[in-house]
């Protein structure tokens, strides 16, 4: 991994940092940057994994971005976590760090009026070092390849639908976190093999310490107490959501590429079937799909919670 652009000297004490590993995301990045900038991320640290669509140039031009590049295998680096882990250890210590993919947008109760510094100050005050979020997979109505999306526009407008409640949780005895599966991919693609369906629970926001490490994407993190993001036995805790914008029209092309690369996920054989299904340009919508209206709707549906944040 080599440095393309290092502006980390501009990181101030208490700054909120964004970490992300990307490959060919030039279409999603403008809105991704805008969303998280507005939310209060002060500086972004990107690892570019061999993009050839102008992603690197775009990122290097951004004043609040530091950029590294590598052409090594994404899978062998534990899906980018080795690269990001090194950056987090070096630059993240003592900062609140948001680790997200380019197709994820973080939201939480009151995010429109209370920016990240407000949230992190409250978490600090509550003695919490981590914040959990559920991935909400968004999709269009009609075949996924037929959406039209202009870079810089809100992708939620192109992908307004999601599955309101077909999520199942189980307690992970080893990592002591909640393993959540469900959503549209589970419903449409993984019926015959639910164990392989995508994991939706994430812990994307952490007050970083150099001894911490993400294990598998941001689903699991060590030490395990950082998973303590949900209440039990009967309490709601404040939690957020990651709006997942995977199903833009480009997903069809990307899936063809993934079929060739076979890099992306833990079990390439299973995912080969899934990517094959995606290249057929399916329609994920059904009559009971919910249209995204904002954080209040997700709170009402029970997909995230205000907890005690008044």
């Amino acid at each position: 991994m080599h440095t393309v652009q290092n502006r980390t000297a501009t990181i101030r004490k208490g700054a909120i940092l964004g970490f992300s590993c990307v490959r060919n995301e030039v279409i999603r990045l403008p809105y991704f940057m805008q969303h998280h900038r507005d939310l209060g991320v002060d500086h972004f640290l990107f690892v570019d994994n061999g993009s050839d669509d102008g992603t690197a140039d775009y990122l290097a031009d951004q004043p609040d971005v530091s950029l590294w590049r590598t052409d090594h295998s994404y899978r062998l680096s534990r899906f980018g976590m080795d690269w990001l882990g090194w950056l987090q250890m070096k630059y993240g210590h003592g900062h609140w760090c948001l680790t997200v993919d380019a197709d994820e947008l973080l939201i939480y109760p009151q995010h429109d009026t209370r920016k990240l510094p407000t949230l992190t100050a409250w978490l600090d005050d509550q003695g919490r070092q981590s914040f959990g979020a559920l991935m909400i997979e968004l999709y269009p109505r009609g075949p996924v390849g037929q959406t039209t999306y202009q870079p810089g526009k809100d992708p939620v407008a192109a992908l307004p639908f999601f599955d309101p409640d077909n999520y199942r949780n189980i307690w992970h005895p080893i990592f002591r976190n909640l393993w959540i599966q469900g959503g549209v991919r589970d419903r449409v693609f993984f019926g015959p093999d639910p164990a392989r369906a995508p994991t939706l629970n994430k812990t994307p926001l952490i007050k970083w310490d150099r001894r911490y490490a993400y294990v598998s994407s941001t689903h699991q993190v060590l030490p395990r107490h950082l998973h303590d993001v949900f209440g039990t036995p009967q309490y709601d805790r404040m939690s957020g959501a990651l709006l997942h914008t995977k199903f833009l029209d480009i997903v069809v092309e990307k899936s063809k590429e993934e079929q060739i690369r076979q890099q992306h996920f833990e079990n390439s054989v299973v995912y080969a079937e899934y990517h094959k299904a995606l290249t057929k340009n399916p329609d994920l919508w059904y009559a009971g799909s919910s249209q995204y209206e904002g954080w209040r709707q997700l709170v009402d549906l029970g997909l995230m919670s205000k907890g005690t944040w008044g």
């Binding site: 510094p117 949780n169 019926g191 939690s239 029970g302």
Partner: protein, 566 residues
């Protein structure tokens, strides 16, 4: 000016400065105490920034630990200083650097001047309020607390336990009745002076030094000794979460704060620029001298506390995951599990839907081929797939999701020994479940199918074993569901009573007496069929006793008529 102000500042000194300016600009003398934990540099800059205001004085800094005495000591000193230097004061207001004036000081003065004898201090005895941060209420006053709750929680707890164990109790000075309440008060000169000059003050102070969280009890207790007119509420709007931590107000609380008509609010998020820019704001109808009305704020925050302490039963989510095996009601609302009825009657589901006119009546949700939702669709409300593998992968959550997603409507579904059995314990322990079982009814489909007898025999034995196991669960002492079990023979003899109960349950209200019965499948020859099974060595004990001759079925047919006219 008749109002003096004490300001206790800890952090966000820029905002504290802003607050102090507002009081001083309105003409109030202000005495400021800054926590010694603030570094000298920052403190000097703060004092310097306020040096243009003559009305603002500072007192020597104390080191204030949460729950400790020093905060009270600092307040005493500040109060003494105010009273001594300003004989004109009639009320003293205790505020903090994180307070925000919501209404102009002039409106507050008008309000206080109209109530010259009233002390505004929230003050209740420990029996009256359920504030038990750290599980302590009355014991705050009778134990010793030499260790910090925030920094050395474990030793704190251990020491409390030890004292409870050996039965240690401090003596409360005679004459004192411990009271607690919000630390933010507004007292009259007379009361405050009486507290500060009480001849027994050294005794009281010595006692309170070792009480836990004395800033919530010292003035609250002492005021009860000296005041002639206490109004037990704080003029400062502040809300606390279940841990006793103050809720923070943000920009989006603007309208809420405005409606409250309170004079002062805390604690304010230091970066809530919009709040600081907006307030203080004259109340809409100043001539009314509106009394603060924090009930709307109470409601909003009470919701947050309820969510925290009560949760939303039946909801499973990333930040709320109760242990299914420990809770009483694991689902969001009542639902009915119906076993055997769909086998006894033709189109039982259609009949029940019509008879109840309300709830969702599903087929066999847990059938081996797929989940038979009421509308027969492959995807049901909430995005739930009918795929059997997906369903069985976590059958318990399939059910809790179904109930949660359709919590406005009563859900009923058919069940039986041919279905996925992994939900049995969960359903049995769920107080929301209404389970009606016609045991042995599975025999009917075997009887009607007329297949190879040796296969039938094997299948009957298998189903009977499964149902027997399930019934054992339903009869266990851990079962909390409402359970009704009858044998097939019992049921077909008088089905109407049971059907009436089910209809009432599903429509969630008593129903007029049923006029129309569902039509029963023809059971002619069932008795002989059962006898055949017995002769082959398979004993169908769950069906109950049918007459052994082939007439049984016929007599059943004739029995169908009477309950039409009942």
């Amino acid at each position: 000016m008749s109002l003096g102000v004490i300001v206790l500042a800890h952090t966000a000194l820029q905002r504290a400065e802003q607050a102090i300016r507002q009081w001083a600009d309105a003409g109030c003398p202000v005495v400021v105490h800054v926590d010694r934990k603030v570094d000298q540099h920052e403190y000097a800059a703060f004092v310097d920034a306020l040096s243009d205001l003559d009305r603002v004085k500072f007192i020597r800094r104390h080191r204030c630990d949460w729950g400790g005495w020093e905060l009270v000591a600092a307040t005493q000193k500040a109060a003494t200083k105010l009273l001594d230097n300003h004989p004109e004061l009639r009320h003293i207001y205790l505020a903090s650097g994180a307070c925000l004036l919501l209404r102009p000081v002039a409106e507050l003065c008008t309000y206080l001047n109209a109530r010259p004898e009233t002390d505004f201090i929230e003050s209740s005895t420990t029996e009256d309020v359920p504030w038990t941060v750290g599980g302590l209420d009355e014991e705050r006053f009778t134990l010793r607390f030499p260790f910090s709750w925030r920094r050395h929680r474990r030793i704190f707890d251990l020491y409390v336990k030890l004292q409870q164990l050996i039965g240690f109790k401090r003596r409360i000075p005679t004459g004192l009745v411990p009271h607690m309440g919000s630390q933010w008060w507004c007292l009259t000169r007379r009361t405050l002076n009486a507290i500060l000059t009480d001849p027994k003050r050294p005794t009281y102070d010595r006692y309170f030094r070792k009480v836990w969280i004395p800033d919530e009890s010292y003035f609250q207790t002492m005021a009860r000794l000296h005041s002639t007119k206490i109004e037990s509420r704080s003029l400062t709007l502040s809300k606390f979460d279940f841990q006793g931590k103050p809720h923070v107000f943000y920009n989006d609380h603007k309208a809420l704060l405005r409606r409250s008509a309170c004079f002062v609010a805390r604690k304010i998020w230091p970066r809530a620029d919009e709040l600081y820019d907006t307030f203080p704001l004259p109340y809409d109808k100043p001539e009314d001298h509106v009394t603060p009305n924090p009930s709307s704020v109470d409601r909003v925050f009470a919701n947050a506390v309820d969510r925290r302490t009560l949760g939303r039963p039946g909801l499973y989510m990333q930040s709320r995951f109760p242990t299914i095996d420990r809770e009483n009601a694991v689902t969001a609302g009542p639902y009915s599990v119906l076993q055997g009825f769909a086998e006894v009657f033709d189109d039982f589901e259609g009949w029940l839907t019509k008879a109840t006119g309300g709830g969702d009546v599903h087929g066999h949700l847990f059938a081996p081929d797929r989940a038979h939702f009421t509308d027969g669709s492959p995807v049901y409300v909430g995005g739930m797939s009918d795929h059997p593998t997906l369903r069985d992968y976590n059958a318990k959550m399939f059910l809790t999701n179904l109930i949660w997603n359709n919590r406005a409507k009563h859900q009923a579904f058919q069940f039986g020994p041919m279905d996925t059995q992994t939900i049995n314990w969960m359903v049995a322990k769920d107080t929301n479940a209404r389970i009606s079982v016609v045991s042995g009814a599975w025999i009917i489909s075997l009887f009607l199918a007329r297949e190879e007898f040796s296969d039938v025999r094997k299948e009957a034995a298998r189903l009977q074993q499964i149902e027997h196991k399930q019934l054992k669960i339903l009869r266990s002492p851990f079962t909390k569901a409402r359970v009704r079990v009858m044998t097939l023979a019992e049921f077909v003899r008088s089905p109407m009573e049971t059907l009436q109960i089910i209809v009432d349950e599903v429509s969630e209200q008593p129903h007029p007496r049923l006029a129309e019965a569902p039509s029963m499948v023809k059971l002619d020859g069932l008795g002989a069929f059962l006898q055949d099974l017995r002769n082959q060595g398979m004993h169908p004990f769950l069906t109950g006793e049918f007459a052994e001759d082939t007439d049984t079925g016929t007599s059943l047919q004739t029995q169908q008529k009477p309950y039409l006219v009942r």
